[in-house]
């Protein structure tokens, strides 16, 4: 039975960046509507069964009540805590069930959480978060079609997916966490409200990708270079006075002045030390790792990021072979 997964994060798009910036608002009902369109596309593309992350809002069951998609559904057999570990455990459970593709509704942080649990299952990320560099801002009907084409194998992984780079956080030389887009050394002692927005507190930035039209920290690197997701190189920036000054949109509606004192490309597998102690490491825009005095922490680029569906290539392959 052709099976796909849906992980719709009910807590994405609701963090403090609605207060300190002008982050978009995705209420859960909008996510339900996105899931409906997704299901319609999945059904047409041949998905028969959908496994989903359960949540308090019952997004997938609500979506089914309002559309005609005829797919069998089953909630993931995981305990829900209402935090990002739900997405990681749901991804891991779905990988164990051999789903052919997982569609993720969330922002960069949600995609990172899912990747931690299911890196080898093709992920199709749809943006419903805040700083959205990793997920696509796209129509869910098309995402559903593409997910179905990949999950059913009618479009192969080699035709319709790619493996981007990711960042690995090393503590005492052991990988303790990952980031898909950016890692930042933030001069705060606590994780607290998670998001980062005060650039004067950022001393180092690590990037897997950079584009001049990006949002978030990736936009800072994007003012210097373009690095595409599949390229086996990253960018390390050290912030401080005396270097190049630029302006970058570091959050929705928030454009900040940044001074780059040092820049260097990152090669895969070469750790770059975090040179501040008593700070936190923000991963994909959220404070995650507390770095205490005496900790030895570094960040390295890895070419083994999560498998991601390239919607354009997938749909083109379907067109070329008249699959739809």
């Amino acid at each position: 039975m052709t099976t796909a997964g849906i992980i719709a994060n009910p807590i994405s798009g609701k963090d403090i960046r609605r207060l300190v910036a002008h982050g978009s608002v995705f209420d859960n009902q909008e996510k339900v509507r996105i899931v409906r369109r997704l299901l319609m596309g999945m059904e047409v593309a041949g998905i028969q069964r959908v496994l989903y992350m359960p949540d308090e809002y019952h997004m997938v069951p609500r979506a089914l009540r309002g559309c005609r998609a005829k797919v069998e559904t089953q909630p993931a057999a995981i305990r829900i805590y209402g935090d990002q570990t739900d997405s990681t455990r749901a991804g891991s459970w779905m990988a164990d069930q051999d789903v052919g593709c997982i569609v993720v509704l969330g922002g960069d942080g949600t995609c990172r959480a899912v990747a931690k649990g299911s890196a080898r299952v093709p992920m199709l990320p749809i943006s419903t978060g805040t700083n959205n560099v990793f997920p696509y801002m796209m129509e869910a009907t098309v995402a559903g079609l593409a997910a179905g084409l990949i999950a059913s194998g009618r479009v192969s992984h080699s035709e319709g997916t790619f493996t981007p780079c990711q960042l690995e956080v090393l503590r005492q030389d052991k990988v303790v966490d990952i980031a898909l887009v950016d890692a930042a050394v933030y001069n705060e002692r606590f994780i607290a409200a998670r998001a980062i927005w005060e650039m004067e507190k950022v001393s180092q930035i690590f990037l897997t990708r950079a584009r001049p039209d990006a949002i978030g920290l990736s936009a800072v690197g994007g003012q210097l270079h373009t690095i595409e997701p599949g390229e086996p190189r990253g960018l390390h920036l050290r912030l401080g006075p005396g270097g190049r000054s630029l302006m970058a949109p570091i959050a929705p509606g928030l454009i900040a002045a940044v001074s780059i004192s040092e820049e260097a490309f990152m090669a895969p597998g070469v750790p770059v030390p975090v040179t501040t102690s008593g700070c936190v490491l923000a991963l994909d825009g959220e404070r995650e790792v507390e770095v205490r005095q005496g900790d030895s922490v570094a960040v390295q680029l890895s070419t083994q990021g999560p498998l991601v569906v390239d919607v354009g290539r997938t749909m083109a392959a379907a067109r070329d072979r008249r699959l739809l």
Binding site: P10, I11, K14, D15, I16, R18, L19, V20, V25, D27, N28, Q29, D55, E56, Y57, G82, D83, E188, R189, F190, I191, A192, A193, R194, E290, R292, Q293
Partner: protein, 319 residues
């Protein structure tokens, strides 16, 4: 988030003060020594503490019937609070208000409130006065998930936004309105989602993380002071005790309670402060011991204070 070690230790102290006070009130109620009802704040200490730590003395708060924590965090005197709960003449309301009506206008505490959703219009009134006088003070309206469904709360949020009032609506979503789970009383799960309807920012924070609450409310207070209008902060939390003391809690199971006890906001903060070398175990013990003494003094004060006399029955009645 600019916060000093001293401020963090102060927040740890306030949370413990609330916990000790509420635990003592719980014991007194069980012994039948307190008249009326009490609604305890145990498990939710991080919200009042984090929110009030962002305020000045001249800022105002409106509270709920679960109000002891808010009052303590805003500077309420334990002696006067305990005396009021005992119904004594020396209490904040001369013993005539009890737990659900404690007010101390001189501290900006515009009252606990027996009316569910009663605080919003009062907070708006205070905020309108600040705005009218050209002061940069703010009003914080604490309200529960039950109050979130009351017309008064929705009307208050609408008007606060329409008039760009300096109000911060701090929702304490503990999952239950009395015995009714929010899944049965609301079509949505995140009260913050409603903010968009009033064109104000709405955010969700972990209500058991005092630093997360502090950081979010700080930003909302900054906006309000700078004339940018109201905000809605939804703090996800849980009350360890029943809706009121004596509530048999048949509507929830012990595993659920236990899962939240494991997320104890005080222990969470204590661990963080100890990891960072900000608070030693000895200092933590000292703080708790000092609070216990302060509480004993408050209890003695309440016990030794007289009850109001019958002659005073009609005094201070204004409505």
């Amino acid at each position: 988030m600019s916060i000093t070690n001293e401020q963090m230790i102060q927040m740890f102290t306030t949370m413990n003060k609330i916990r000790q006070f509420e635990t003592r009130v719980q014991e007194f109620f069980a012994d039948g020594r307190i008249p009326g009802f009490v609604h305890l704040y145990i498990g939710e200490e991080a919200i009042a503490t984090g929110a009030c730590a962002t305020l000045r003395k001249e800022d105002c708060i409106t509270s709920t019937h679960r109000g002891h924590g808010h009052l303590i965090a805003k500077g309420g005197d334990l002696k006067l609070m305990m005396a009021e709960i005992f119904g004594k003449k020396t209490g904040y309301c001369k013993g005539k208000g009890g737990s659900m009506h404690i007010a101390a206008v001189e501290l900006g505490i515009l009252g606990a409130n027996g009316i569910v959703g009663g605080g919003g219009p009062i907070a708006n009134g205070a905020a309108l006065a600040f705005q009218y006088r050209g002061q940069d003070n703010v009003a914080v309206c604490f309200f529960g998930d039950g109050a979130a469904n009351q017309g008064t709360t929705q009307e208050a949020m609408n008007l606060a936004s329409a008039w760009s009032l300096p109000v911060v609506f701090v929702n304490e979503n503990n999952g239950y309105g009395i015995s009714c789970p929010t899944s049965k009383s609301m079509a949505i799960t995140d009260i913050a989602d409603r903010a968009a309807a009033y064109d104000m920012p709405g955010v969700v924070v972990d209500g058991n993380d005092v630093l997360a609450v502090y950081e979010a409310v700080s930003e909302a207070v900054r906006r309000a002071r700078e004339g940018e209008g109201p905000s809605l902060i939804e703090c996800k939390t849980y009350r360890w005790r029943g809706h009121f003391e004596g509530d048999a809690c048949v509507y929830r199971d012990e595993n659920e309670v236990q899962s939240w006890v494991e997320r104890d906001p005080i222990r969470k903060l204590e661990e963080k402060l100890q990891e960072q070398g900000i608070l030693s175990p000895e200092k933590s013990r000292e703080i708790r011991d000092a609070l216990a003494k302060e509480l004993e003094a408050a209890v003695a004060f309440a016990e030794e204070s007289p009850l109001p006399s019958v002659d005073e029955l009609e005094e201070d009645v204004y409505a």
